[in-house]
């Protein structure tokens, strides 16, 4: 069984949104067009927790996505990523091997010198991978994101996060210092002018402590983390080729989530300004402007690794620099994902994800 065919299989079902090279598959799998049989996000639906922390098998794709900006006692910067993707071949769940749900995990640790990546793929239905809403647990093999909150409390408020691969691993404890934040219009996040959308909420207020295990030894770290939850059935419009996505921890305690979906024209941008106490302020489409400052050769392609990000209406004007410009996720569906620092009208740290290059 070649790894390649697994990769392609997953790409067909899930990740069409992540890579332009898979755009051709949209027509084939019908991902870009109406999601036959699958549910479609509708505006005005309110999140129901803890149920919405769990899987939504009637939607085609879904993810539990954590990024963490970490620092060792000596000031060395690190980044960590933990992601669980769900992809459905059919809008249902079943027990046993006949389950149409596929799961994929990505884990990464970024240093200024190295970028460690691992991937896991599993079928649903037998317990090898899955998500339980309460008490919260998301796992694939021995990678796990486990909630420690008591029943009834916010299940995502206190998490432990582990992933181990051949040459790296980590054990992190995440404690929320703020509330869950719905993105877009009360969690209805528009992805194109044509109406493609997803359900999207975040927990951007984690304080992190824990340890990384690297080939050079174990490192105790502290820092900040951000969790994204998103599910949809038709995340991209037909002409969209990929996205550039920012999650920023401002030194003022405020947060900013912003993305641009690239197409043949201007692109579609969207952003949410989050106050230090967790109130979201969704910005109108087009309010966010992003311009590449510098590109670098990464995995044989030209990728913008430094960006100018502006929100003119708010006097927000920063330039980002990556911790490691080679933060390439050489997984089945490759993309760039890594920690960044930024300076300008305000400074801080965050994560950048770029797909479809």
């Amino acid at each position: 069984m070649s790894v390649r065919s697994i990769a392609i299989a997953f790409a067909v079902t899930t990740m069409a949104s992540l890579s332009a090279s898979q755009a051709a598959y949209q027509g084939f799998a019908g991902l870009g067009s109406a999601a036959e049989g699958f549910s479609v996000p509708q505006p005005g639906r309110l999140f129901r927790f803890p149920a919405d922390h769990g899987a939504h098998p009637d939607f085609r794709i879904e993810w539990w996505y954590v990024t963490a900006n970490l620092e060792a006692p000596d000031g060395t910067q690190y980044g960590a990523q933990w992601t669980l993707f769900r992809s459905a071949l059919a809008p249902r769940e079943a027990n046993g091997w006949s389950s149409p749900q596929l799961w994929m995990g990505h884990a990464a640790v970024t240093t200024s010198e190295d970028h460690f990546v691992a991937e896991r793929i599993s079928r649903g239905g037998v317990g090898q991978a899955g998500v339980v809403a309460e008490p919260f647990s998301a796992w694939i093999d021995d990678w796990q994101m486990k909630g420690h909150a008591v029943p009834g409390a916010d299940q995502l408020a206190d998490l432990s996060l582990t992933a181990t691969a051949g040459d790296f691993g980590y054990e992190l404890r995440l404690s929320a210092t703020g509330p869950l934040v719905p993105q877009g219009d009360d969690g209805y996040s528009l992805k194109s002018a044509k109406g493609q959308a997803s359900y999207y909420y975040s927990q951007p207020f984690y304080a992190v402590s824990g340890s990384l295990s690297l080939p050079t030894g174990n490192v105790a770290v502290t820092g900040k983390a951000w969790l994204d939850r998103e599910w949809s059935s038709q995340p991209l419009a037909e002409d969209q080729t990929g996205w550039d996505w920012f999650s920023l921890h401002l030194d003022t305690g405020e947060k900013l989530m912003g993305f641009r979906l690239r197409d043949e024209g201007e692109g579609f941008t969207s952003a949410t300004w989050i106050t230090a106490d967790g109130r979201p302020d969704p910005l109108p489409a087009g309010a966010l402007k992003i311009v590449p400052v510098r590109t670098a050769n990464v995995a044989g392609r030209q990728i913008p690794v430094s960006w100018n990000v502006q929100i003119p209406g708010r006097g927000f004007d920063i330039t980002t620099q990556p911790l490691n410009e080679q933060a390439w996720m050489s997984t089945s569906i490759p993309y760039w994902e890594g920690p960044i620092a930024f300076k300008g009208s305000v400074s801080g740290r965050g994560y950048l994800e770029m797909t479809g290059y």
Binding site: M1, S2, V3, S5, I6, I8, A9, F10, A11, V12, T13, L89, G96, W97, S98, P100, I121, S122, R123, V126, G127, Q128, W139, D141, D142, T164, A165, G166
Partner: protein
Amino acid sequence: MTMWTAATALLSHWRRRPLQLGALLSGLALATALWSGVQAINAEARASYARAAAVLDQNGLAHLVSPNGRAIPQSAFVRLRRAGWNVSPVLEGEYRFGTTRLRVIGIEPLTMPAETDTVDLGNAEDLLSFITPPGIVVVSPGTAEKIRGQTDLALRVSDRMLDGAAFIDIGLAQRLLRREGELSRIVIAENQRPGLEPLGTLVPTLSVRESNAQSDVEHLTESFHLNLTAFGFLAFAVGLLIVYSTIGLAFEQRRPTFRTLRCLGVSLRALAVLLLSELVLFALAAGAVGVAIGYLVASLLLPGVAATLEGLYGASVPGTLSLRPEWWVSGFAIAVAGTLVSSAQSLLRLMRVPLLAAAQPQAWGRSSQAGRRFQVLAAAALLALSGALLLWADGLQAGFGVLGCLLLGASLLLPAVLSSLLTLMQRTSSRALVTWFWADARQQLPGLSLALMALLLALAANVGVGTMVSSFRLTFIGWLDQRLAAELYVAARNEGEADRLRTWLAAKVESVLPIVSVDAEVRGQPMQIFGVVDDPTYRKHWPLIVGIPDVWDWVASGEGVLVNEQFWRRERLSIGDELDLASDWKAAVVGVYSDYGNPKGQVIAGISALTSRYPHVSRLRYGLRVKPDQVADLRSSLSDEFGLPPENILDQAALKEQSRRIFDRTFLVTGALNIFTLGVAALAMFSSLLTLSEMRLPQLAPVWAMGVTRRDLALLELLRTLVLWLATFIAALPLGLALAWVLLAVVNVEAFGWRLPMHIFPYEWVRLGLVALAAAVVSVFIPLRRLAGLAPSELLKVFANER
């Protein structure tokens, strides 16, 4: 003078001697053919073992298995994955697609380690169709042929699949086999991350079955391939002897040409380069023909080889050959290398012998006294080594060592023995022509000895292997009579039917013998444990080799078990040794029975002892004892009452016939190889005689001049060849019997685990003798016809003053 002119001069030799060229090329082609043919067969078989290992054993990775052969719960797999172990589940079983039973192997492609190289599902669509209901069945082309139309499932054909097996998704396997949530074993990938919790604490009820570096099949078939390789090498060596003698003669005959060329300014280096190019050219031409013939030989032999491997070892090898590019390369390589090796001496002589030394074609091939003495000493040493290996060494390699040394030693001794014999004959004769007849035969001996040695080897191999196979057959047939004692064998289709069958049969037959078996692991070896009822049939007929008194009482009580001969020998068991048959079952070995044709070990226990430890054992098959005249009636009422299909009811005669057919098919390839070897020996003889006939004139002319007619001379030549053949044939008989004895008593025991009594079949020798005689007459025919039709002027040239 240009090189081209020199080349033309050199090559013109062959135009004048087309037969010599023919001998050279055919010797080389034949050597290449048999060598590459045998290599092709071995390669094909090895490829299919690799395929089998990939399909059935996941390339020899370690597995987690349940020691009692019980199913493994799927939760164990999930527990291991969640603890970080890189493992993959497998569920195996027999499933009937229409009328075809297949071994279905349910795998989980997403977790199956890449190194298992199981099956390439190609693109994503196929992978998704494979894991998504209804699923895909991956089978070999041959199996697809059989089950097409018999199943609603989509088939996918893979060349890398094994016949009779099918890959399906684990989920589909659980549905088809009705074993939801169960696994047969769990494959453990080689790559595991550090710091894992030990298996012993995670899944304490499972045990790890370590991989063998070599699969069981490969191990078992090793002797067969060694055997085949030996035959191939023998033929190759004989072919090269032909090349050696032909090239040697051609060099001597061309010495005047060399001299002329050198005198005309062609440097020694240029001459050597020319000759070398000539040889390489011949080698390439003959190599091409050889590989083509080799392919033909291999594709002719392969069905037989496949039958042998299937029959003797249960190894499945397809009967068709795929053309591999590496053969062409290796075929040409071996042809060129063989040519260079066998012409090295001639080339060296060319470089060393002074320019003006006279040509000595007559002396070519005549070995020196010292050479002959060395040969006898070497022969003695080899024979001594053979004896020493026989007495003091162990193992299959040693067995083949005994064979090799014996054959080589005997053949090296042959010229000396024949020479002494001819000297003796010459001494005892007083008539001039008779004396000359023996003297001349002795003088020709050096030139013929290589061919005679080849003939000795071929004849001895024929006698030896023939005796082995015939002895085996005789023993096997007798053993079948004992083993297949029940008159009728019937298989129910399910347990319910089996129950009804038992009740129904109870009143109709003398006794019902259930055939109950489980797959188990005993002393680390996979094998079957059979359960038998206490019945006079076994007490009277079962072919025991050794056994304690009241052996069947011990078996019936469950305290004793019988083991088959191969397991007994392999494990060096003794009566009274205890075997662990299950976690809660120990029993003592009380007897040993012969079990020919079974590659694996086997244990026979009392049926109640077996079923109490393995309660869910299948009880579908029964042997029935009835009066022979009732067989037909019972058979028809079985199919009337139960609607059993014909393949579920087998009578003894049909089973025996089937076994006999399989046996005969099994040794078809041995017979074919024997004929091939004999053919090469005949060709060697022919080419030697042809070579000698070129030098015969000066030897025959004086006798002719003194009043012996050409016709009488030709007759004497024929007689002389026949006498040498006969002497070699007689020498081959004891050598062949020795070979047979080593095969039966040493090699078979090591290779198969059973020892067979030797029987002697003189009638077969007569037949072989006639075949050999025919070959002798054919080989001598052309040289002889040339001699008989010789013009007197040709003979007179010998004496001509102008010479």
